[in-house]
Protein backbone atom coordinates (compact mmCIF):
# COMPACT_ATOMS: atom_id res chain seq x y z
CA UNK A 1 0.00 0.00 0.00
CA UNK A 2 1.26 3.47 -0.84
CA UNK A 3 2.11 5.67 2.12
CA UNK A 4 -0.80 8.03 1.49
CA UNK A 5 -3.19 5.14 1.30
CA UNK A 6 -1.88 3.71 4.58
CA UNK A 7 -2.32 7.07 6.25
CA UNK A 8 -5.85 7.41 4.93
CA UNK A 9 -6.70 3.94 6.18
CA UNK A 10 -5.33 4.78 9.64
CA UNK A 11 -7.19 8.07 9.71
CA UNK A 12 -10.41 6.25 8.83
CA UNK A 13 -9.91 3.91 11.79
CA UNK A 14 -9.16 6.91 13.97
CA UNK A 15 -12.34 8.68 12.87
CA UNK A 16 -14.38 5.66 13.91
CA UNK A 17 -12.76 5.70 17.37
CA UNK A 18 -12.40 9.45 17.85
CA UNK A 19 -15.65 10.30 19.65
CA UNK A 20 -15.33 7.49 22.19
CA UNK A 21 -11.64 8.25 22.65
CA UNK A 22 -12.39 11.90 23.40
CA UNK A 23 -15.21 10.82 25.70
CA UNK A 24 -12.87 8.59 27.73
CA UNK A 25 -10.16 11.24 27.88
CA UNK A 26 -12.57 14.06 28.78
CA UNK A 27 -13.84 11.99 31.68
CA UNK A 28 -10.25 11.48 32.88
CA UNK A 29 -8.99 15.04 32.43
CA UNK A 30 -12.30 16.92 32.90
CA UNK A 31 -11.00 19.13 30.09
CA UNK A 32 -12.38 18.85 26.54
CA UNK A 33 -9.51 20.78 24.94
CA UNK A 34 -6.92 18.56 26.57
CA UNK A 35 -8.92 15.48 25.55
CA UNK A 36 -8.93 16.61 21.92
CA UNK A 37 -5.19 17.32 22.02
CA UNK A 38 -4.43 13.92 23.52
CA UNK A 39 -6.60 12.19 20.93
CA UNK A 40 -4.70 14.02 18.20
CA UNK A 41 -1.39 12.97 19.75
CA UNK A 42 -2.59 9.37 19.85
CA UNK A 43 -3.35 9.63 16.12
CA UNK A 44 0.18 10.87 15.44
CA UNK A 45 1.63 7.93 17.38
CA UNK A 46 -0.61 5.53 15.44
CA UNK A 47 0.54 7.07 12.16
CA UNK A 48 4.15 6.19 13.05
CA UNK A 49 3.50 2.81 14.67
CA UNK A 50 0.73 1.18 12.65
CA UNK A 51 2.44 1.23 9.24
CA UNK A 52 5.08 -1.03 10.85
CA UNK A 53 2.91 -3.12 13.20
CA UNK A 54 -0.37 -3.15 11.30
CA UNK A 55 -3.68 -1.91 12.71
CA UNK A 56 -4.10 -3.53 16.15
CA UNK A 57 -7.04 -5.83 16.90
CA UNK A 58 -8.51 -3.36 19.36
CA UNK A 59 -7.64 0.01 17.83
CA UNK A 60 -9.85 1.89 20.29
CA UNK A 61 -8.08 0.44 23.32
CA UNK A 62 -4.70 0.94 21.68
CA UNK A 63 -5.37 4.63 21.02
CA UNK A 64 -6.73 5.11 24.54
CA UNK A 65 -3.62 3.50 26.02
CA UNK A 66 -1.34 5.69 23.87
CA UNK A 67 -3.24 8.86 24.83
CA UNK A 68 -3.18 7.88 28.50
CA UNK A 69 0.60 7.41 28.40
CA UNK A 70 0.94 10.89 26.90
CA UNK A 71 -1.31 12.26 29.60
CA UNK A 72 0.83 10.72 32.35
CA UNK A 73 4.08 11.86 30.75
CA UNK A 74 2.69 15.35 30.39
CA UNK A 75 1.31 15.37 33.90
CA UNK A 76 4.68 14.21 35.34
CA UNK A 77 6.47 17.01 33.53
CA UNK A 78 4.07 19.56 34.86
CA UNK A 79 3.61 17.90 38.22
CA UNK A 80 5.35 20.66 40.10
CA UNK A 81 3.50 23.46 38.39
CA UNK A 82 -0.02 22.92 39.56
CA UNK A 83 -1.56 20.76 42.20
CA UNK A 84 -4.43 19.67 40.01
CA UNK A 85 -2.14 18.04 37.48
CA UNK A 86 -0.15 16.45 40.26
CA UNK A 87 -3.35 14.90 41.51
CA UNK A 88 -4.20 13.58 38.11
CA UNK A 89 -0.71 12.14 37.74
CA UNK A 90 -1.02 10.42 41.09
CA UNK A 91 -4.46 9.07 40.31
CA UNK A 92 -3.27 7.71 37.01
CA UNK A 93 -0.14 6.24 38.52
CA UNK A 94 -2.30 4.32 40.92
CA UNK A 95 -3.80 2.52 37.96
CA UNK A 96 -1.15 -0.17 37.70
CA UNK A 97 -1.62 -1.69 34.30
CA UNK A 98 -1.31 0.30 31.10
CA UNK A 99 -1.22 -2.58 28.66
CA UNK A 100 -3.79 -2.56 25.87
CA UNK A 101 -5.63 -5.57 27.34
CA UNK A 102 -5.98 -3.82 30.68
CA UNK A 103 -7.18 -0.63 29.07
CA UNK A 104 -9.59 -2.62 26.95
CA UNK A 105 -10.98 -4.24 30.09
CA UNK A 106 -11.17 -0.90 31.87
CA UNK A 107 -13.07 0.73 29.04
CA UNK A 108 -15.20 -2.32 28.55
CA UNK A 109 -18.14 -0.09 27.93
CA UNK A 110 -20.87 -2.18 26.35
CA UNK A 111 -23.50 0.39 27.21
CA UNK A 112 -21.58 3.15 25.45
CA UNK A 113 -21.85 5.19 28.64
CA UNK A 114 -18.75 7.23 27.91
CA UNK A 115 -19.91 8.34 24.48
CA UNK A 116 -23.33 9.14 25.92
CA UNK A 117 -21.67 11.15 28.68
CA UNK A 118 -19.86 13.21 26.05
CA UNK A 119 -23.07 13.77 24.10
CA UNK A 120 -24.86 14.95 27.25
CA UNK A 121 -21.97 17.28 28.14
CA UNK A 122 -21.81 18.79 24.64
CA UNK A 123 -25.57 19.36 24.72
CA UNK A 124 -25.61 20.77 28.24
CA UNK A 125 -28.24 23.50 28.74
CA UNK A 126 -25.61 25.94 30.09
CA UNK A 127 -24.62 26.39 26.42
CA UNK A 128 -26.80 28.12 23.81
CA UNK A 129 -28.53 25.75 21.37
CA UNK A 130 -26.42 26.94 18.40
CA UNK A 131 -23.18 26.45 20.34
CA UNK A 132 -24.41 23.02 21.50
CA UNK A 133 -24.97 22.09 17.88
CA UNK A 134 -21.49 23.23 16.85
CA UNK A 135 -19.80 21.48 19.78
CA UNK A 136 -21.72 18.24 19.21
CA UNK A 137 -20.84 18.21 15.51
CA UNK A 138 -17.19 18.82 16.43
CA UNK A 139 -16.82 16.31 19.29
CA UNK A 140 -19.29 13.58 18.39
CA UNK A 141 -19.70 14.02 14.64
CA UNK A 142 -15.98 14.64 14.13
CA UNK A 143 -16.58 17.54 11.74
CA UNK A 144 -13.84 20.14 11.39
CA UNK A 145 -14.48 23.78 12.24
CA UNK A 146 -14.41 24.54 8.48
CA UNK A 147 -17.03 21.87 7.78
CA UNK A 148 -19.30 23.19 10.53
CA UNK A 149 -18.89 26.76 9.28
CA UNK A 150 -19.78 25.67 5.76
CA UNK A 151 -22.79 23.71 7.02
CA UNK A 152 -24.19 26.70 8.91
CA UNK A 153 -23.08 29.25 6.27
CA UNK A 154 -21.01 30.93 8.95
CA UNK A 155 -17.31 31.75 8.93
CA UNK A 156 -14.54 29.70 10.51
CA UNK A 157 -13.61 32.31 13.09
CA UNK A 158 -17.17 32.67 14.33
CA UNK A 159 -17.64 28.91 14.67
CA UNK A 160 -14.26 28.47 16.36
CA UNK A 161 -15.15 31.22 18.83
CA UNK A 162 -18.54 29.64 19.47
CA UNK A 163 -16.93 26.27 20.22
CA UNK A 164 -14.32 27.86 22.49
CA UNK A 165 -17.03 29.70 24.44
CA UNK A 166 -19.00 26.47 24.75
CA UNK A 167 -16.00 24.58 26.12
CA UNK A 168 -15.34 27.36 28.63
CA UNK A 169 -18.98 27.31 29.73
CA UNK A 170 -18.75 23.54 30.30
CA UNK A 171 -15.56 23.93 32.33
CA UNK A 172 -16.94 26.84 34.34
CA UNK A 173 -20.16 25.02 35.20
CA UNK A 174 -18.14 21.97 36.26
CA UNK A 175 -20.14 19.77 33.89
CA UNK A 176 -19.51 16.07 34.51
CA UNK A 177 -19.00 13.81 31.51
CA UNK A 178 -21.54 11.38 32.90
CA UNK A 179 -24.99 10.30 31.85
CA UNK A 180 -27.47 12.02 34.16
CA UNK A 181 -29.86 9.85 36.17
CA UNK A 182 -33.48 10.03 37.21
CA UNK A 183 -35.39 13.29 36.81
CA UNK A 184 -32.27 15.08 35.56
CA UNK A 185 -32.01 12.58 32.71
CA UNK A 186 -35.42 13.57 31.37
CA UNK A 187 -34.61 17.27 31.45
CA UNK A 188 -31.13 16.88 29.94
CA UNK A 189 -32.31 14.41 27.31
CA UNK A 190 -34.68 17.10 26.04
CA UNK A 191 -31.68 19.33 25.45
CA UNK A 192 -29.86 16.59 23.50
CA UNK A 193 -32.88 15.87 21.30
CA UNK A 194 -33.36 19.59 20.67
CA UNK A 195 -29.77 19.89 19.38
CA UNK A 196 -30.08 16.93 17.04
CA UNK A 197 -33.36 18.25 15.64
CA UNK A 198 -31.88 21.73 15.25
CA UNK A 199 -29.01 20.27 13.19
CA UNK A 200 -31.46 18.26 11.13
CA UNK A 201 -33.74 21.22 10.45
CA UNK A 202 -30.89 23.45 9.38
CA UNK A 203 -30.21 20.83 6.71
CA UNK A 204 -33.83 20.08 5.88
CA UNK A 205 -35.30 23.56 5.77
CA UNK A 206 -32.28 25.81 5.43
CA UNK A 207 -33.38 29.11 6.95
CA UNK A 208 -30.85 31.10 4.95
CA UNK A 209 -28.84 30.84 1.76
CA UNK A 210 -29.29 29.86 -1.85
CA UNK A 211 -30.09 26.16 -1.56
CA UNK A 212 -33.21 24.74 -0.04
CA UNK A 213 -31.73 21.65 1.57
CA UNK A 214 -28.27 20.71 2.82
CA UNK A 215 -28.32 16.91 2.87
CA UNK A 216 -24.94 16.46 4.62
CA UNK A 217 -26.28 18.25 7.70
CA UNK A 218 -29.35 16.01 7.69
CA UNK A 219 -27.07 12.99 7.40
CA UNK A 220 -25.10 14.12 10.47
CA UNK A 221 -28.29 14.56 12.48
CA UNK A 222 -29.59 11.17 11.37
CA UNK A 223 -26.31 9.58 12.39
CA UNK A 224 -26.50 11.24 15.82
CA UNK A 225 -30.10 10.12 16.25
CA UNK A 226 -29.17 6.57 15.24
CA UNK A 227 -26.25 6.53 17.68
CA UNK A 228 -28.49 7.79 20.47
CA UNK A 229 -31.19 5.23 19.64
CA UNK A 230 -28.52 2.50 19.67
CA UNK A 231 -27.29 3.62 23.10
CA UNK A 232 -30.69 4.43 24.66
CA UNK A 233 -33.08 1.94 23.06
CA UNK A 234 -35.56 2.20 25.94
CA UNK A 235 -36.20 5.94 25.65
CA UNK A 236 -39.39 6.45 23.63
CA UNK A 237 -38.65 10.08 22.73
CA UNK A 238 -35.22 9.13 21.35
CA UNK A 239 -37.02 6.66 19.09
CA UNK A 240 -39.62 9.33 18.33
CA UNK A 241 -36.91 11.73 17.19
CA UNK A 242 -35.20 8.99 15.18
CA UNK A 243 -38.51 8.18 13.48
CA UNK A 244 -39.12 11.84 12.76
CA UNK A 245 -35.74 12.52 11.12
CA UNK A 246 -35.75 9.25 9.15
CA UNK A 247 -39.19 9.90 7.69
CA UNK A 248 -38.53 13.55 6.95
CA UNK A 249 -35.16 12.74 5.37
CA UNK A 250 -36.89 10.21 3.12
CA UNK A 251 -38.29 13.22 1.21
CA UNK A 252 -35.03 15.12 0.74
CA UNK A 253 -34.63 14.17 -2.91
CA UNK A 254 -38.22 15.13 -3.72
CA UNK A 255 -38.30 18.36 -1.74
CA UNK A 256 -36.26 20.39 -4.22
CA UNK A 257 -37.03 20.23 -7.93
CA UNK A 258 -34.21 19.73 -10.45
CA UNK A 259 -33.96 23.51 -10.80
CA UNK A 260 -33.55 23.79 -7.04
CA UNK A 261 -37.05 25.13 -6.53
CA UNK A 262 -39.09 24.13 -3.47
CA UNK A 263 -41.68 21.45 -4.12
CA UNK A 264 -44.45 21.31 -1.48
CA UNK A 265 -45.32 17.96 0.08
CA UNK A 266 -48.58 17.53 -1.81
CA UNK A 267 -46.85 18.02 -5.17
CA UNK A 268 -43.79 15.89 -4.55
CA UNK A 269 -43.02 12.92 -6.75
CA UNK A 270 -43.56 10.18 -4.17
CA UNK A 271 -41.63 7.69 -6.26
CA UNK A 272 -38.53 9.62 -5.19
CA UNK A 273 -39.21 9.16 -1.48
CA UNK A 274 -36.62 6.90 0.10
CA UNK A 275 -38.57 3.79 1.07
CA UNK A 276 -35.71 2.40 3.14
CA UNK A 277 -35.76 5.48 5.39
CA UNK A 278 -39.56 5.40 5.58
CA UNK A 279 -39.42 1.79 6.71
CA UNK A 280 -36.77 2.62 9.31
CA UNK A 281 -38.84 5.58 10.52
CA UNK A 282 -42.08 3.61 10.80
CA UNK A 283 -40.21 0.90 12.66
CA UNK A 284 -38.74 3.39 15.14
CA UNK A 285 -42.16 4.97 15.62
CA UNK A 286 -43.72 1.58 16.34
CA UNK A 287 -41.03 0.96 18.96
CA UNK A 288 -41.65 4.37 20.57
CA UNK A 289 -45.39 3.67 20.71
CA UNK A 290 -44.79 0.20 22.16
CA UNK A 291 -42.87 1.91 24.99
CA UNK A 292 -45.94 4.03 25.83
CA UNK A 293 -44.38 6.99 24.07
CA UNK A 294 -47.13 7.74 21.54
CA UNK A 295 -47.92 11.13 23.10
CA UNK A 296 -44.36 12.45 23.29
CA UNK A 297 -43.81 15.56 21.18
CA UNK A 298 -41.30 13.89 18.86
CA UNK A 299 -43.32 10.68 18.53
CA UNK A 300 -46.41 12.76 17.65
CA UNK A 301 -44.47 14.72 15.03
CA UNK A 302 -43.16 11.42 13.68
CA UNK A 303 -46.72 10.07 13.59
CA UNK A 304 -47.69 13.12 11.53
CA UNK A 305 -44.80 12.57 9.14
CA UNK A 306 -45.81 8.90 8.96
CA UNK A 307 -49.34 9.84 7.79
CA UNK A 308 -47.80 11.43 4.71
CA UNK A 309 -45.31 8.61 4.25
CA UNK A 310 -48.11 6.04 4.21
CA UNK A 311 -50.20 7.89 1.61
CA UNK A 312 -49.36 6.69 -1.90
CA UNK A 313 -50.67 9.94 -3.38
CA UNK A 314 -51.46 13.37 -1.96
CA UNK A 315 -55.18 12.65 -2.44
CA UNK A 316 -54.95 9.59 -0.21
CA UNK A 317 -53.61 11.63 2.73
CA UNK A 318 -55.65 11.05 5.87
CA UNK A 319 -56.10 14.73 6.84
CA UNK A 320 -58.71 13.97 9.50
CA UNK A 321 -56.20 11.78 11.31
CA UNK A 322 -53.54 14.47 10.86
CA UNK A 323 -55.87 17.10 12.34
CA UNK A 324 -56.52 14.82 15.34
CA UNK A 325 -52.75 14.27 15.81
CA UNK A 326 -52.26 18.06 15.79
CA UNK A 327 -54.89 18.37 18.53
CA UNK A 328 -52.76 16.00 20.63
CA UNK A 329 -49.50 17.72 19.69
CA UNK A 330 -51.02 21.07 20.69
CA UNK A 331 -51.62 19.63 24.15
CA UNK A 332 -48.20 17.93 24.43
CA UNK A 333 -46.25 20.91 23.12
CA UNK A 334 -48.37 24.08 23.06
CA UNK A 335 -46.87 26.63 20.67
CA UNK A 336 -48.11 29.11 18.05
CA UNK A 337 -46.16 27.21 15.36
CA UNK A 338 -48.01 24.00 16.20
CA UNK A 339 -51.30 25.93 16.12
CA UNK A 340 -50.41 27.23 12.67
CA UNK A 341 -49.77 23.71 11.42
CA UNK A 342 -52.99 22.58 13.08
CA UNK A 343 -54.78 25.27 11.08
CA UNK A 344 -53.25 23.91 7.85
CA UNK A 345 -54.37 20.38 8.77
CA UNK A 346 -57.90 21.59 9.57
CA UNK A 347 -58.05 23.44 6.25
CA UNK A 348 -57.20 20.22 4.45
CA UNK A 349 -59.56 18.07 6.51
CA UNK A 350 -62.54 20.41 6.87
CA UNK A 351 -62.06 23.20 4.28
CA UNK A 352 -60.23 26.55 4.05
CA UNK A 353 -62.69 28.33 6.34
CA UNK A 354 -61.81 25.97 9.20
CA UNK A 355 -58.16 26.85 8.63
CA UNK A 356 -58.87 30.58 8.56
CA UNK A 357 -60.78 30.40 11.86
CA UNK A 358 -57.81 28.75 13.60
CA UNK A 359 -55.22 30.99 12.02
CA UNK A 360 -57.12 34.14 13.00
CA UNK A 361 -56.94 33.00 16.62
CA UNK A 362 -53.12 33.11 16.56
CA UNK A 363 -52.65 36.07 14.22
CA UNK A 364 -51.36 38.26 17.06
CA UNK A 365 -48.89 35.76 18.56
CA UNK A 366 -45.58 37.54 19.04
CA UNK A 367 -43.61 34.44 18.01
CA UNK A 368 -45.25 34.55 14.57
CA UNK A 369 -44.85 38.25 13.86
CA UNK A 370 -42.02 37.76 11.34
CA UNK A 371 -42.78 34.14 10.51
CA UNK A 372 -43.22 33.67 6.75
CA UNK A 373 -45.26 30.43 7.02
CA UNK A 374 -48.12 32.33 8.76
CA UNK A 375 -49.04 34.66 5.86
CA UNK A 376 -48.15 31.85 3.43
CA UNK A 377 -50.74 29.57 5.08
CA UNK A 378 -53.35 32.30 5.29
CA UNK A 379 -52.71 33.10 1.61
CA UNK A 380 -53.32 29.46 0.75
CA UNK A 381 -56.60 29.34 2.70
CA UNK A 382 -57.81 32.58 1.11
CA UNK A 383 -56.82 31.37 -2.35
CA UNK A 384 -58.75 28.15 -1.90
CA UNK A 385 -61.72 30.11 -0.56
CA UNK A 386 -61.70 32.11 -3.80
CA UNK A 387 -60.55 35.36 -2.15
CA UNK A 388 -57.62 35.84 -4.53
CA UNK A 389 -56.99 39.55 -3.93
CA UNK A 390 -56.51 39.01 -0.22
CA UNK A 391 -54.48 35.86 -0.96
CA UNK A 392 -52.02 37.75 -3.16
CA UNK A 393 -51.29 40.29 -0.43
CA UNK A 394 -50.59 37.45 2.00
CA UNK A 395 -48.22 35.62 -0.38
CA UNK A 396 -46.34 38.85 -1.03
CA UNK A 397 -46.04 39.50 2.69
CA UNK A 398 -44.76 35.95 3.20
CA UNK A 399 -42.18 36.36 0.41
CA UNK A 400 -40.92 39.55 2.03
CA UNK A 401 -40.37 37.68 5.32
CA UNK A 402 -38.67 34.58 3.89
CA UNK A 403 -34.88 34.33 4.22
CA UNK A 404 -34.55 31.48 1.77
CA UNK A 405 -34.28 32.46 -1.88
CA UNK A 406 -35.93 29.31 -3.21
CA UNK A 407 -38.85 29.60 -0.83
CA UNK A 408 -39.23 33.28 -1.80
CA UNK A 409 -39.45 32.34 -5.51
CA UNK A 410 -42.14 29.82 -4.69
CA UNK A 411 -44.20 32.36 -2.73
CA UNK A 412 -43.88 35.03 -5.41
CA UNK A 413 -45.02 32.49 -8.00
CA UNK A 414 -48.09 31.79 -5.88
CA UNK A 415 -48.76 35.53 -5.56
CA UNK A 416 -48.53 35.86 -9.35
CA UNK A 417 -50.98 32.97 -9.76
CA UNK A 418 -53.57 35.04 -7.84
CA UNK A 419 -54.01 37.38 -10.81
CA UNK A 420 -57.70 37.57 -11.73
Amino acid sequence: MAKDETHRAIEAVFRIERARLIATLARMTRDVDRAEELAQEALLIALTEWPKSGVPDKPGAWLTAAAKRRLIDGARHEAMRTRKQAEIARELDEEPDMRVEAVEAAIDDPLGDELLGLIFAACHPVISPEARAALTLRLVGGLTVEEIARAFLSNDAAVAARITRAKKAIAKAGVQFEVPRGAELTARLGSVLEVIYLIFNEGYAATTGPSLVRPPLCAEAQRLARILAGLMPEQPEVLGLLALVEIQASRLAARAGPDGRFVPLTEQNRARWDQLLIRRGLNALARAEALDGADGPYALQAALAACHARARSAEETDWVRIAALYDRLGRAMPSPVVELNRAVAYSMAFGPEAGLRLVDAIADAAALRHYAPLPAARGDFLFRAGRTDEARAQFEAAAALSGNERERDFLLARAAACAP
Binding site: R8, A9, R15, I16, R223, A225, I227, G230, P258, D259
Partner: protein
Protein backbone atom coordinates in the same frame (compact mmCIF):
# COMPACT_ATOMS: atom_id res chain seq x y z
CA UNK B 1 -22.74 8.41 1.57
CA UNK B 2 -24.70 5.22 1.35
CA UNK B 3 -22.96 1.99 0.40
CA UNK B 4 -24.09 -1.57 -0.09
CA UNK B 5 -21.75 -4.19 1.28
CA UNK B 6 -22.12 -7.58 -0.35
CA UNK B 7 -21.09 -10.77 1.39
CA UNK B 8 -19.92 -12.85 -1.55
CA UNK B 9 -20.98 -16.45 -1.66
CA UNK B 10 -18.62 -19.38 -1.21
CA UNK B 11 -19.01 -23.11 -1.77
CA UNK B 12 -19.91 -23.36 1.91
CA UNK B 13 -22.65 -20.73 1.80
CA UNK B 14 -24.05 -22.29 -1.36
CA UNK B 15 -24.53 -25.54 0.57
CA UNK B 16 -26.96 -23.86 2.98
CA UNK B 17 -26.74 -23.29 6.72
CA UNK B 18 -23.71 -24.70 8.56
CA UNK B 19 -24.03 -27.13 11.52
CA UNK B 20 -25.75 -25.56 14.53
CA UNK B 21 -22.68 -25.09 16.73
CA UNK B 22 -20.73 -23.33 13.93
CA UNK B 23 -23.76 -21.19 13.22
CA UNK B 24 -24.12 -20.15 16.88
CA UNK B 25 -20.51 -19.01 17.00
CA UNK B 26 -20.93 -17.11 13.74
CA UNK B 27 -24.17 -15.46 14.91
CA UNK B 28 -22.46 -14.41 18.10
CA UNK B 29 -19.47 -12.82 16.36
CA UNK B 30 -21.63 -11.23 13.69
CA UNK B 31 -24.13 -10.02 16.28
CA UNK B 32 -21.40 -8.20 18.15
CA UNK B 33 -20.16 -6.59 14.93
CA UNK B 34 -23.70 -5.57 13.97
CA UNK B 35 -24.23 -4.03 17.38
CA UNK B 36 -21.07 -1.95 16.89
CA UNK B 37 -22.37 -0.82 13.51
CA UNK B 38 -25.73 0.16 15.01
CA UNK B 39 -24.17 2.04 17.93
CA UNK B 40 -21.98 3.98 15.52
CA UNK B 41 -25.04 4.98 13.50
CA UNK B 42 -23.58 3.22 10.46
CA UNK B 43 -25.93 0.31 9.83
CA UNK B 44 -29.12 1.11 7.98
CA UNK B 45 -30.16 -2.31 6.77
CA UNK B 46 -28.85 -5.81 6.20
CA UNK B 47 -29.76 -9.45 5.89
CA UNK B 48 -28.62 -12.88 4.75
CA UNK B 49 -29.76 -14.63 1.57
CA UNK B 50 -30.53 -18.28 0.96
CA UNK B 51 -28.25 -20.21 -1.44
CA UNK B 52 -28.77 -19.69 -5.16
CA UNK B 53 -30.49 -23.10 -5.36
CA UNK B 54 -33.53 -21.20 -3.98
CA UNK B 55 -33.11 -18.42 -6.55
CA UNK B 56 -34.31 -17.75 -10.06
CA UNK B 57 -32.99 -15.62 -12.88
CA UNK B 58 -34.99 -13.85 -15.53
CA UNK B 59 -33.05 -13.59 -18.78
CA UNK B 60 -33.91 -10.80 -21.23
CA UNK B 61 -33.29 -10.94 -24.94
CA UNK B 62 -35.25 -8.43 -26.99
CA UNK B 63 -38.91 -9.14 -26.33
CA UNK B 64 -38.17 -12.60 -24.89
CA UNK B 65 -37.98 -13.44 -21.21
CA UNK B 66 -36.93 -16.82 -19.92
CA UNK B 67 -36.74 -18.05 -16.35
CA UNK B 68 -33.64 -19.95 -15.22
CA UNK B 69 -33.79 -21.92 -11.98
CA UNK B 70 -30.88 -21.95 -9.53
CA UNK B 71 -28.39 -23.09 -8.41
CA UNK B 72 -26.04 -20.94 -10.46
CA UNK B 73 -22.41 -21.55 -11.33
CA UNK B 74 -19.71 -18.85 -10.83
CA UNK B 75 -20.07 -19.16 -7.03
CA UNK B 76 -17.65 -16.26 -6.45
CA UNK B 77 -19.96 -13.90 -8.31
CA UNK B 78 -22.99 -14.79 -6.18
CA UNK B 79 -24.17 -12.92 -3.11
CA UNK B 80 -24.87 -14.53 0.26
CA UNK B 81 -25.89 -11.44 2.20
CA UNK B 82 -25.73 -7.66 2.30
CA UNK B 83 -25.69 -4.56 4.48
CA UNK B 84 -26.59 -0.98 3.72
CA UNK B 85 -24.30 1.43 5.56
CA UNK B 86 -24.22 5.21 5.84
CA UNK B 87 -20.60 6.33 6.05
CA UNK B 88 -18.65 9.53 5.41
CA UNK B 89 -16.52 8.07 2.64
CA UNK B 90 -15.16 4.83 1.18
CA UNK B 91 -12.22 4.89 3.60
CA UNK B 92 -14.62 4.61 6.51
CA UNK B 93 -16.55 1.82 4.78
CA UNK B 94 -13.29 -0.09 4.24
CA UNK B 95 -12.26 0.42 7.88
CA UNK B 96 -15.58 -1.01 9.06
CA UNK B 97 -15.49 -3.89 6.59
CA UNK B 98 -12.04 -4.90 7.86
CA UNK B 99 -13.53 -5.23 11.35
CA UNK B 100 -16.11 -7.71 10.18
CA UNK B 101 -15.53 -11.25 11.41
CA UNK B 102 -14.87 -13.57 8.46
CA UNK B 103 -18.45 -14.39 7.49
CA UNK B 104 -17.50 -17.79 6.08
CA UNK B 105 -15.62 -20.84 7.40
CA UNK B 106 -13.04 -20.53 4.60
CA UNK B 107 -11.61 -17.62 2.61
CA UNK B 108 -14.30 -15.12 1.65
CA UNK B 109 -14.86 -11.63 0.32
CA UNK B 110 -16.89 -8.51 1.04
CA UNK B 111 -17.57 -6.07 -1.78
CA UNK B 112 -18.44 -2.41 -1.13
CA UNK B 113 -20.42 -0.48 -3.72
CA UNK B 114 -21.55 3.14 -3.30
CA UNK B 115 -25.12 4.11 -4.21
CA UNK B 116 -25.74 6.81 -6.78
CA UNK B 117 -26.58 10.07 -5.05
CA UNK B 118 -28.69 13.01 -6.20
CA UNK B 119 -25.67 15.04 -7.28
CA UNK B 120 -24.23 12.19 -9.39
CA UNK B 121 -26.96 12.82 -11.95
CA UNK B 122 -26.02 16.50 -11.95
CA UNK B 123 -26.87 18.12 -15.26
CA UNK B 124 -28.18 14.88 -16.72
CA UNK B 125 -31.55 15.61 -15.09
CA UNK B 126 -32.23 18.89 -16.90
CA UNK B 127 -35.35 21.00 -16.23
CA UNK B 128 -36.58 19.87 -19.69
CA UNK B 129 -36.26 16.21 -18.72
CA UNK B 130 -37.94 16.91 -15.42
CA UNK B 131 -40.79 18.64 -17.21
CA UNK B 132 -41.13 15.69 -19.55
CA UNK B 133 -41.30 13.37 -16.56
CA UNK B 134 -43.90 15.63 -14.96
CA UNK B 135 -46.07 15.57 -18.10
CA UNK B 136 -45.82 11.82 -18.25
CA UNK B 137 -46.90 11.58 -14.63
CA UNK B 138 -49.87 13.85 -15.27
CA UNK B 139 -50.94 11.69 -18.19
CA UNK B 140 -50.63 8.57 -16.11
CA UNK B 141 -52.75 10.04 -13.36
CA UNK B 142 -55.35 11.03 -15.94
CA UNK B 143 -55.19 14.78 -15.34
Amino acid sequence: MRVMVFVKATEDSEKGLPPTEDMTAMFEAMGKFNEELVNAGVMVDGDGLKPSSHGKRIAFDGPNRSVIDGPFAETRELVAGYWVWEVKDMDEAVAWAKRCPNPMPGPSELEIRPFYEMEDFGDALTPELAEQEQKLRERLSGE
